[in-house]
Symmetry: C2
Subunit: 275 residues, 2 copies
């Protein structure tokens, strides 16, 4: 039986209880992080905890100390014997009085759970979602529990036979995937939309921007239009579990895997081995 | 100790357990309804269940039969002796495999909980929120668990000393309150933005449109601009718990309570007594 970490205690998953009055359950009032575990070690944990802290500050949510979360992560992995796995950290505002207004002094719910790894696909296809991201909300840049738009976008894509949904923002710019950040190679340059376009500050996205500098690949953040996909020589999607994968089809437009994606995936893999 | 209805069983709230792997908790993958209870009877239950069914269809979520939900509501109210109360119905997609994609055959989580009523304010003030509603998502028209934008908008308003947050949509049109629908009286005519503006199909909103017809008050759904608040002779907000209340201030703009709001509130109160 799997063990999970709930509010500082490692317990059997079956006996872990979320209160039906938890605001994470009732109102999506919380945040999460999904990490990849390589050889028993959570990868880039510090970057994930920094992002979680930024989200917690935006929501006005007290957060356990980074060491407490790191210890919970290690204990969860050890108790389940996970070596290659995914790890999810969930932080909610806990219970409160009825209604939308947060309690003055919340007692957050803090959950860490691991999962055996499902191998990611070698390449992905995507369709453009009918659902758009909302760049006029801070949540478009945070990994909050309000994830249902993404769920519906991916469900819509899967029903149509695609692996991922690419989402535009309200202004019609390209924002990214339902669960991934998007990069295009345009005229030899690697480009990805900035956070202001309604884009989550992905950890692998950041790593790609850093790795491209090391590799001498010109890269920058810039708003992208749907028509840029037609002009792209490569398209890449990334997240902690997918890592860096070529997007080989967007709707009817076929793209190949290419040298930029291969080089970045190679360097990222080295990074994961060094950790 | 309060009793709640969870998956068909009436149990002590303390022993009610939401699974930490519930998609309602992890991804806001679910819906809810908030009803007012008058004299032990849930008001306009049928209309709420119709809206819940429409949301469930949009999400691809199986829903318990209306009679099952109605019985759970009655049993919850009776067990707690609630006469004047609020009642929340929550329906989630239950647990599933890790990740965003819904399970092929979900076992929904179905929760009914009542709360003693806090008396609504007689009138409200509001500020314009920095967070906008996303009319490019079906969720802007559904009462989904992805409610964190509304939570943050109301928290921002409360911090600034206001009772409600009015939210624009991405295009800059007036959409409504963080937890209420908005009506304005413009040149003697009652107006409210249509669902296509990113507006929840409120049950009291619908009742107002019907009551205004009976009262001979001209009323229609039409897109509204922020500047329309300057021109309005009255502004009203409504939901099942607030009922129909005058919005007497929006930012620096003061409005009075007026005859249209008073007449609609009077007729709505009659409706609640007849039920």
């Amino acid at each position: 039986m799997a063990k999970i970490h709930l509010n500082g205690r490692l317990i059997e998953e079956d006996s872990a209880r979320i209160d039906p009055a938890d605001r994470g359950f009732l109102l999506a009032d919380g945040l999460f992080e999904t990490l990849r575990v390589y050889d028993g070690q959570p990868f880039m944990l510090e970057a994930h905890l920094t992002r979680l802290a930024q989200g917690a500050a935006a929501l006005g949510l007290p957060m356990p100390a980074a060491e407490v979360i790191a210890r919970a992560a290690r204990e969860t992995l050890a108790a389940n014997g996970f070596r290659q796995a995914s790890l999810r950290i969930t932080l909610t505002r806990g219970t409160g009085q009825r209604g939308l207004l947060p309690p003055a002094e919340p007692s957050p719910t803090f959950l860490v759970a691991g999962h055996p790894l499902a191998a990611p696909p070698a390449e992905l296809t995507a369709q453009i979602s009918s659902i758009r991201r909302n760049e006029h909300s801070p949540l478009s840049r945070l990994k909050s529990l309000a994830y249902l738009d993404n769920v519906l976008a991916l469900r819509e894509a899967a029903t149509a036979g695609f692996d991922e949904a690419l989402m535009l923002n309200a202004a019609g710019g390209l924002a990214g995937g339902s669960r991934s950040n998007l990069f295009l190679v345009l005229a030899g340059e690697l480009v990805t939309p900035p956070a202001s376009e309604g884009v989550l500050a992905g950890i692998v996205r950041r790593a790609i921007l850093d790795l491209s500098r090391e590799a001498g690949i010109a890269a920058r953040e810039t708003p992208l239009a749907l028509s840029d996909i037609e002009r792209a020589s490569e398209a890449l999607v990334c997240n902690s579990l997918l890592e860096i994968k070529p997007l080989v089809r967007v709707g009817e437009r076929r793209l190949g895997a290419g040298p930029v994606g291969r080089e970045l995936a190679r360097r990222y893999e080295l990074l994961t081995r060094q950790a």
